[in-house]
């Protein structure tokens, strides 16, 4: 009888070991930085949603954030940002990356990112991120070296002076396994 229970338990346990594991984005802060001779502006969003699916030692992550969710503290600037990035037509910024599952235990990771934004797709190779484990959560932070030309965005101008091409995006995310 005990042997039957043991066999039944083992059969029940096998799918669990073979099953995919998943990660969910718990909270996030994404901050873009724009430089102009008269202004240094930052827009912040906490509205990113993300999910990671691990299978056979590889994890695929998808993060999406609505363009409209970025707040720079100035509604006029935010509307202008949405206009130049065609945020009404392409309302989401999506980031995809694939990482080895073993990276979850590393202190730094270098991720190849595929970012879709403003109707364009750009690739960033080996972007470094710092990884910190806190309890069951994994905290990831880093900066994506994005530029306006990567997404064919005409640089907005103030007093006829255009902003700089670099728009680094600081990423601060907390993931938890599902």
């Amino acid at each position: 009888m005990n042997r039957k229970i043991l066999i039944a338990f083992l059969f029940a346990a096998i799918p669990a070991f073979g099953a995919d594991s998943q990660w969910v984005l718990q909270q996030s802060t994404l901050t873009y930085h724009v430089s102009h001779p008269l202004h240094q502006s930052e827009g912040v969003s906490h509205a990113a949603k993300g999910k990671g699916v691990c299978h056979a030692g590889q994890c695929e992550f998808l993060i999406a954030v609505p363009v409209k969710s970025f707040d720079s503290g100035d509604s006029n600037r935010d509307l202008h940002m949405i206009q130049v990035t065609r945020g009404a037509e392409f309302p989401l910024v999506t980031v995809r990356t694939r990482l080895p599952e073993s990276d979850a235990t590393a202190s730094t990771i270098n991720a190849d990112l595929e970012i879709q934004f403003a109707g364009q797709t750009a690739h960033y190779q080996q972007v470094p991120f710092k990884v910190e484990k806190q309890g069951g959560e994994t905290h990831i932070s880093g900066t994506i070296p994005a530029t306006l030309t990567d997404f064919k965005i005409d640089p907005p101008s103030l007093l006829t002076i255009p902003v700089k091409n670099d728009i680094p995006v600081r990423v601060d995310m907390t993931w938890r396994p599902q």
Partner: protein, 305 residues
């Protein structure tokens, strides 16, 4: 008759020669360019708006994305070649076409039929409420947009709103430039003000002051028009320096109307050899306050304090 024939022959030759010269460059421009177009529908054949269609070049890995309109139509202008095409939309399973060939002769038509995202245990498609980030992924390999629990408002593209934003930006750019141009005669008018209203009997400064004041008023009117007529974007709550900028308009707007009226009264009094008196005496102070409010409005959106 002969003359007409000669004229038409020469014209014909010219057209042929011109075509001969331009044809190679026209052909060169068209070679290598193609397009991928089609309609994205759901299982019932209904149009799926705001679906993302991504074409990835099999040769170079370059990607290009377009979103579908309200009729489910999309178009991607692409170089000739072979592409892997994915169709993605919130609430639907991602559809991937492993190879589509784009040629320069005619647009390649590729329609996408999307299936609703599957829920666990074989239950029907996830509803919006169920479609939460912590719901199991509809894919065993890669998560898709439908897994993230975004609302339809967040994922749906809105070309009409984009057109409204484009118009707004266009008008506000003109507003900004005209505002800067207006500053020049405005400053000059204020500088000439004390001379125009002084004890001097000469009228040259006064006339120049009036001319510059009129020019300022006209330019200001155009500047204001582009701000007032710029489309409002529904659902936008005003925050930041724009509130101060608009508050200043309530000072310099009426000021720009009042200043020339008081100025005309003062001008008339001076021309009659009288000392400026009565309400016309307020022309100078009102003009100073108006110019100050205008300057503050300009600075509030230009320089970060």
């Amino acid at each position: 008759m002969l003359s007409n024939l000669w004229r038409s022959s020469v014209s014909g030759l010219l057209v042929v020669s011109l075509f001969g010269m331009l044809a190679p460059s026209l052909i060169a421009q068209t070679v290598g360019k193609g397009a991928l177009t089609g309609r994205v529908t759901d299982a019932s054949g209904g149009a799926v708006a705001n679906a993302y269609v991504t074409a990835t070049s099999i040769d170079s890995g370059q990607k290009q994305t377009a979103s579908t309109g309200p009729d489910g139509m999309y178009k991607l202008d692409l170089p000739e070649g072979n592409y892997r095409v994915t169709f993605e939309a919130a609430g639907f399973k991602t559809l991937e076409i492993s190879s589509a060939t784009v040629s320069g002769t005619a647009p390649e038509i590729l329609d996408g039929k999307l299936e609703r995202g599957e829920a666990v245990n074989g239950s029907p498609a996830l509803t919006q409420q169920e479609n939460l980030p912590n719901a199991p992924s509809s894919s065993t390999t890669a998560p898709s947009l439908s897994d993230l629990g975004l609302s339809p408002e967040q994922t749906r593209g809105n070309p009409q709103e984009q057109a409204l934003l484009d118009k707004r930006t266009h008008m506000l750019k003109i507003h900004q430039r005209m505002g800067l141009i207006t500053t020049i005669p405005l400053v000059a008018t204020v500088i000439l003000g004390p001379g125009a209203g002084g004890k001097s009997e000469g009228t040259a400064t006064r006339d120049l002051h009036v001319a510059l004041g009129s020019l300022t008023g006209d330019l200001y009117g155009i500047t204001a028009y582009y701000a007032i007529r710029a489309p409002r974007i529904p659902g936008t709550k005003k925050r930041g320096p724009i509130k101060f900028h608009e508050a200043m308009a309530w000072i310099h707007g009426p000021g720009m109307i009042l200043t020339p009226i008081l100025g005309a009264m003062a001008f008339s009094q001076k021309n009659n050899g009288e000392k400026v008196h009565g309400i016309a005496q307020a022309h100078g102070p009102v003009a100073i306050v108006t110019a100050g409010a205008f300057g503050a409005a300009l600075l509030s959106v230009s320089v970060k304090f």
